[in-house]
């Protein structure tokens, strides 16, 4: 089509292909000249600028680069071949700027009508010209912002890395963003923490925005049984990585001030893929792979018991062999992983689209653990006039996640961990409880989801100096959580016991998030080199959680599964909680010659959860950014390409939970089933938000011909008025806790991100990066007179001077064994360096339950621009975990199937004293680890192979995940988290019969047409 020719100037390619046929060539040359003249005239008349963006070193086209006409809203993305086209440019000349994560910017003054603009971007490990989302219209370049903003180029990551979920995508790629999964069950979610733990009682979850709209950021959902387990489902993983273009992370209050109340835990922005003007592009990705339990024989401990007076053992291999002989299956299966993604994108200068669909099926190692889901996305962009731009983002997800019982709920891990040689020759085959197949047949726990997310963003630039933006959007999540035991009469006399009579509890949840966001920015050139940008905005957020639940027990007969067929213990419930925030901000930014920036801002919020005695919350912000390497006085050093210094101070908050401020009664059924009320929440009318104040400073530098980059940040975050879930004296008659603003929590640390390209030539490119963060977390004070500490779970507490959720337990320091192996003369740590009788000993500090050091190494070697070899090793250090597997094996449940209980004289008296007295201090140990998280090889097929498929490009990736762990932790999995798990409940730092992180191998085929 002529327009295509005009836009992309492809005639020369066609001329080359026609060489050897002179007459045809002549006609073609004539046609090309005519077309060029015609197109140029037409292009100038339509105000078109088009061209190509390439890598300055490899000359390879760069897809997904943002090309803008400076001082206008006009812009477009480059397509898969690096082409761009922008229409509607006024005047005869314009300045176009191209940007892309991982590259510097390229700025060029061009003639309007020029369709052969060539822009070359140099690889830049610490580019300052990337535009990031900050809450103001059109965002800001990194050089303007006084904070560190971590950007993840997701489109590049998914091409080579074996990531199937959002949490896998973020893991190891952003300093100080810690991913803490609870279990290896597929479909389960992780806790995500940014810059430490700031609150003692509230949600620690960062805010999440997708294309400018606030989303449901729940990290712990699912069937109620999982409140006792660890396999909860995170809403974060509903977003398919294949649909994400990039992620930007604002880590703390100093960066997230404009987001106000709720932003104290940081803000994560997800920008999904957009279409680019040009011919229609078809992308298809297929992944096939396997999930498996790595080396269960070597990791699951051997159990012991006295059999006919002798100590006998049973290990996993023996148990599995017995099970396989009896029932023809292994205890743990190899799960099948498959995913299919298809996308169509393209458009014209005025209209672009990206439409994609995904089908994913994933099986865990437990026969009842799997997920299947389908999602569809449509992202549309329209520019009806030069002044308006409208974008719509629509996504729908539907699927089911089946979770298997584990942790305290029984299941495979339980019955295996408690295997007992005493019963190895009996009908139980040595299983500690029920057979795996009995769990499979009895328990059915799943979550169905239907989630719609939609947003409309309208950008209006009536004049060159003023831009305003309106965003409104909705995120609606409908889930159906089911916890069911089937009625199987034949299992009633087994360890399944009365559960085999059946029960079912079902909760239908509807979570609604609504966003209304207006913001405007006016830019003024006050004097040569001096410019001002004034921004104002107002946001209105609604989030509403509604559920209806019903349940009961004992199905009337086998085969029945409906709640209506239950016969006993009926329960039902329904509730609505809603929270609303209305806030405004004003921000003034002063820029001097594109190298010095001062930003001042003030945010004010009012929230429906604030107490009546609390007014508005105000959050100030100030930041400076100085690209010192651009200063004339800064001498030119060949090895230093750029250096920016920055500092920022800002505040943000987190509102109380809904209704915590008011004293309430709850409706109940009274005597003779009459209506009644009972005391509910005690309430605190003065309850306000937690306030987090943060100062950060640091620098970015690019060195050695942009082959090395370093980003360093120091931060000091203090959360004051921390909301404490303080127990109340039960004698007052109201509920167990009240919320008060009292505590203070400190998080102080450094973040480092280094990127280096040691080798870069036409044959080999080697890129490596190292991300590291250190966070010193401490409860400064609780602010509660007479309250020395608050419980944070069993053996965990919040106490001034120690990390949040620190381990505390009595610690045996000396003991002896008598002739029978019983621990005697047991003395404990008195907390002051001495020893005291354990009966009166205090619980002493044993370590932090959360890591203080976190990071990752990545390495990518590219050979001949065709083969990429990639690996990622991440680590978390400084945390201790309670090995609950050992606890239940040794003494807590059955009285001991660990050898330490049977032959105490073979072990240390101190250890035996701990076991025999039920003091698990010896089980709380270093759980730091390094993991070979990702390893892959990606081969881009030669053009002739792609052509054989009628494709424009194709690649194959072979990858592995969770392939090796280096750790001193003696338990099964240093990342496991028991009771509460990612729900954030108590005992989060235990491991107890959790499925470990699964390993996987996958092969992925990418084809583009």
């Amino acid at each position: 089509m002529p327009s295509t020719s005009c836009s992309h100037g492809r005639k020369p390619d066609r001329l080359v292909r026609t060489r050897g046929r002179p007459r045809v060539l002549l006609r073609a040359v004539a046609a090309a000249i005519a077309a060029t003249i015609t197109c140029a005239a037409a292009a100038a008349a339509q105000g078109v600028i088009a061209g190509t963006v390439v890598d300055s070193a490899s000359r390879q086209p760069i897809p997904g680069a943002q090309v803008n006409v400076e001082n206008t809203t006009l812009g477009n993305l480059t397509d898969a071949n690096g082409h761009f086209s922008i229409r509607g440019v006024r005047g005869t000349q314009a300045t176009v700027v191209a940007r892309r994560i991982g590259y510097g910017s390229a700025r060029q003054v061009v003639t309007v009508g020029d369709t052969t603009v060539a822009l070359a971007l140099a690889s830049h490990p610490m580019s300052l010209d990337v535009v990031v989302v900050t809450g103001t219209p059109n965002g800001q370049t990194k050089r303007e912002i006084g904070n560190a903003v971590t950007s993840i180029d997701v489109a590049s990551v998914t091409k080579i890395a074996p990531v199937t979920s959002f949490q896998e995508l973020v893991n190891g790629r952003a300093p100080n963003v810690v991913i803490m999964p609870g279990t290896g069950e597929v479909g389960s979610g992780a806790k995500i923490r940014v810059r430490g733990t700031s609150s003692l009682s509230l949600n620690q979850t960062p805010l999440i925005y997708v294309d400018g709209v606030r989303m449901d950021n729940s990290q712990a959902t699912g069937p109620a049984n999982q409140s006792f387990g660890s396999g909860s489902i995170s809403r974060w993983n509903d977003i398919d990585p294949e649909d994400i273009e990039r992620i930007e992370i604002l880590k703390g209050p100093s960066a997230a001030t404009l987001y106000g109340t709720e932003a104290a835990n940081g803000v994560i922005q997800i920008i999904t893929k957009q279409g680019a003007a040009g011919k229609t592009r078809y992308d298809f990705t297929m992944t096939q792979g396997a999930n498996f339990f790595m080396n269960p024989e070597g990791r699951i401990p051997t159990n012991y018991n006295l059999v006919d007076g002798n100590i006998e053992s049973i290990d996993f291999k023996q148990l599995n062999d017995a099970y396989k002989n009896a029932y023809g299956q292994n205890i743990f299966r190899t799960g099948h992983q498959q995913k299919y993604h298809a996308g169509i994108s393209g458009g014209t200068d005025r209209f672009q689209y990206y439409v994609a669909g995904v089908r994913e099926e994933d099986q865990g190692v437990d026969l009842t653990n799997d997920l299947g889901r389908t999602s569809a996305r449509a992202n549309l962009s329209v520019e009806p006039t030069d002044k308006f731009k409208m974008q719509a983002h629509l996504n729908y997800l539907n699927g089911r996640t089946n979770l298997a019982p584990e942790a305290g709920y029984g299941g495979r891990m339980w019955t295996v961990m408690l295997m007992d040689p005493l019963y190895a020759d009996s009908s139980s085959l040595g299983f500690g409880s029920s057979f795996p197949w009995q769990y499979d047949e009895t328990y059915h726990m799943y979550q169905d989801i239907g989630r719609f997310t939609g947003s409309v963003q309208i950008t209006h630039q009536p004049t060159s100096w003023f831009t305003q933006r309106l965003i409104f959007g909705a995120d609606q999540v409908n889930t159906n959580d089911v916890e069911m035991a089937a009625r199987i009469d034949s299992l009633q006399n087994t360890n399944i016991d009365t559960d085999a009579l059946g029960y079912k509890y079902q909760t239908n949840n509807t979570n609604k998030f609504r966003t209304f966001d207006y913001s405007a920015t006016a830019r003024f050139d006050v004097a040569p080199g001096l410019n001002l940008a004034t921004s104002v905005g107002g946001q209105y957020y609604i989030k509403r959680f509604e559920y209806v639940s019903a349940g009961g027990s004992v199905f009337a007969a086998p085969g029945l599964t409906s709640i209506g067929s239950l016969t006993r213990d009926f329960t039902s419930g329904q509730d609505v909680t809603e929270n609303r925030t209305l806030g405004y901000y004003v921000q003034e930014q002063v820029g001097w010659k594109d190298r010095r920036y001062l930003t001042l801002a003030l945010r004010s919020d009012k929230n429906s959860a604030f107490g009546e005695g609390f007014g508005r919350a105000y959050y100030p912000k100030a930041s400076v950014s100085w690209v010192i390497s651009d200063e004339p006085f800064f001498g030119k050093m060949s090895w230093l390409n750029s250096l920016r210094l920055r500092a920022a101070y800002g505040e943000s908050g987190q509102q109380p939970n809904d209704f915590d401020a008011i004293r309430t009664y709850s409706p109940v059924t009274g005597p003779n089933d009459q209506p009644a009320v009972t005391p509910g929440s005690f309430g605190n009318p003065d309850l306000g938000p937690e306030r987090s104040r943060e100062f950060e400073t640091g620098f970015e530098t690019s060195l050695f011909d942009d082959r090395a980059g370093l980003e360093f940040t120091f931060y000091n975050k203090n959360t004051k008025d921390a909301i404490l879930d303080r127990p109340v004296a039960p004698s007052i008659g109201f509920a167990n806790t009240e919320f008060v603003n009292a505590g203070q929590v400190s998080n102080k640390g450094v973040e480092l991100l280094a990127r280096v390209t040691p080798v870069r030539n036409n044959t080999v490119t080697w890129d490596a990066s190292f991300a590291f963060s250190y966070n010193k977390n401490k409860v400064v004070n609780l602010g509660l007179a007479g309250v020395p500490y608050l419980s944070a779970g069993t053996y965990e507490r919040n106490e001034a001077g120690f990390p949040v959720g620190a381990w505390f337990e009595k610690k045996v320091v000396s003991a002896q064994l008598d002739g029978d192996g019983n621990a005697i003369n047991v003395m404990c740590d008195d907390g002051m360096g001495g020893a005291v009788d354990c009966a009166s000993a205090p619980q002493v500090y044993l370590g932090s339950s959360i890591p203080d050091k976190q990071g990752a190494f990545t390495s990518t070697v590219t050979l001949w621009n065709k083969l990429k070899l990639y690996g990622l090793v991440d680590f978390q250090l400084g945390q201790k975990k309670l090995d609950g597997n050992e606890r239940i094996r040794c003494y807590f449940v059955l009285g001991g199937v660990c050898r330490e209980m049977l032959a105490p004289k073979d072990y240390s008296p101190v250890l035996e004293a701990g076991i025999q007295n039920g003091m698990p201090f010896y089980l709380i140990n270093d759980a730091g680890f390094f993991k070979l998280r990702e390893l892959s090889a990606t081969y881009t097929l030669p053009g002739r192979f792609a052509s054989a498929l009628h494709a424009s490009g194709a690649s194959i990736t072979v990858a592995g995940r969770n392939l090796h762990t280096w750790t001193k932790y003696k338990g099964l999995e240093p990342e496991a988290q028991f009771l509460g798990g990612s729900r954030g409940g108590s005992s989060v730092s235990w491991e107890q019969t959790d499925t470990p992180q699964l390993s996987s191998f996958v092969a992925t085929l990418n084809v583009s047409f």
């Binding site: 009926f570 004293r663 009274g670 309430g683 004698s731 807590f892």
Partner: protein, 447 residues
């Protein structure tokens, strides 16, 4: 100032934009309050309900709080004594069964009545009754809805306030009674001995008797008399206890905590713990197949379920409560008779005591004590009264304080290995639960 556009056009545009922005902001500010209104469909703000117009609703609430607390009190008391043995694999419950409950144990200190909690639900029951009594006593008859007898409600509530105190005193080594004030502040109580708590209960029953007499509420009157008799028995004031018990003359009198299958909170907690289809708590050996003089005693019915736990416990289900809606006696004529009998025995009026025992046996359809040749000396009769109480009041929440006040030994004995690990704790007078840490750490008067 230099703008990117022509000055005139720029000024006009800027003015328009500023006006538009100002209008938007002003609109939003004006709508601010209503925009932040949120529905509260499942919670009732205290300010809107704590008034006499809701007298019936509040009274029902106080009664329901007590009924729920009573069920949990009976179950926990049964586990602590010999009525129940724990048959679950839930280690957190075993502390009751082995009589070794630490003061930081969340279950007994924090949990609600539907999860074996005791300190919280009993305190809630007491505070609810006290709070509603405060509201009703401060109101006039005209402030309650028409057709509602304020005095009758007050008479109904006082015995509940008294019984909640009795439960506190019987289960805990010490307790606290705090007060919610009309302005929503709290007057924290101090640590009280069980005797002080029983005296407080005595006062509540006394007020209840007066209110019941004034309003003509016979049920409340009987309940208050029996309640005060129990409190006085607990105080060792046997003559006074007997005098109160003798005020109850209706042989069929019983006041119950109603139950129903409508909600978990309303269900008979004891039945939920122990029935033929589910046995979280198994009836203790002492009560299995119980007979008197060779005849099965119908007052203590239990049956083997045919199941054995993985730890070797043969499960027995209670049959006293036959379904989730079976009511639980709070106060009864039979209990009053046993109180009289005990007072008689302690006063060495053994014939009087034996007559009551015989009458209860006849009522139950088993041989009388006299016919069975029971000894008539004071110690034997008193011992028989303990036995009678354990049978007649089986799973009614009386056994715990009987063990304490009679200093009864329990089996297995202290320091005997517990089947799930650890050893049994003390019994007898030392069996009470200590004041939990949650009260001690959060009550400013106890620091």
């Amino acid at each position: 100032m230099r703008l990117h556009t022509r000055p005139d056009a720029a000024r006009r545009s800027r003015r328009g934009v500023i006006l538009l922005g100002a209008a938007l902001m002003a609109s939003a500010l004006a709508a601010c309050n209503s925009l932040l209104d949120v529905p509260v469909p499942s919670r009732i703000p205290a300010n809107s309900i704590e008034n006499p117009s809701n007298a019936v609703l509040l009274t029902n609430g106080a009664i329901s709080d007590f009924d729920c607390a009573l069920g949990s009190f009976i179950v926990v008391g049964a586990e602590l004594t010999d009525e129940f043995e724990d048959a679950t694999a839930t280690a957190a419950r075993w502390v009751y069964d082995k009589r070794d409950v630490p003061t930081d144990n969340e279950r007994y200190a924090v949990n609600d009545c539907d999860a074996e909690g005791t300190y919280v639900p009993i305190n809630r029951a007491r505070a609810s009754a006290d709070n509603v009594l405060r509201i009703l006593n401060a109101a006039s008859d005209s402030e309650v809805p028409s057709g509602v007898n304020r005095g009758d409600l007050i008479a109904t509530l006082y015995p509940y306030a008294g019984y909640a105190r009795v439960l506190l005193g019987e289960m805990f080594c010490s307790a606290v009674i705090s007060t919610l004030n009309p302005d929503h502040t709290v007057t924290y109580g101090t640590e009280l001995t069980p005797q002080q708590v029983f005296q407080s209960a005595d006062s509540m029953f006394t007020l209840g008797i007066a209110a019941a007499q004034a309003s003509g509420n016979t049920d409340a009157l009987n309940m208050s008399y029996i309640g005060r008799a129990r409190a006085r028995l607990d105080l060792g004031e046997y003559d006074l206890a007997k005098a109160d018990a003798q005020q109850v003359t209706d042989p069929d009198y019983v006041h119950v905590a109603t139950a129903s299958a409508t909600t978990t909170r309303r269900a008979n907690r004891v039945y939920g713990e122990s029935n033929t289809t589910g046995t979280a708590s198994s009836v203790g050996p002492r009560y299995q197949g119980m007979t008197y003089d060779g005849v099965a005693d119908p007052r203590v019915q239990a049956v083997a379920t045919g199941k054995t736990t993985s730890r070797g416990l043969v499960e027995w289900a209670q049959l006293k409560y036959t379904d989730p809606s079976t009511p639980i006696p709070i106060a009864s004529y039979d209990e009053a008779q046993l109180i009289i009998a005990e007072a008689d025995a302690r006063a060495n009026d053994t014939p009087g005591a034996i007559a009551i025992i015989d009458a209860l046996h006849t009522k139950a359809g088993i041989p009388t004590y006299t016919a069975a040749g029971g000894a008539t000396d004071q110690a034997s009769v008193l011992s028989q009264i303990v036995e009678e109480r354990s049978r007649e009041l089986f799973l009614e929440g009386q056994r715990l304080y009987d063990v304490i006040r009679f200093d009864l030994a329990l089996q297995p004995a202290e320091n005997t290995p517990y089947r799930n690990g650890g050893v049994y704790g003390p019994a007898g007078a030392a069996l009470c639960l200590k004041l939990p840490d949650v009260e001690r750490q959060n009550n400013p008067n106890l620091q």
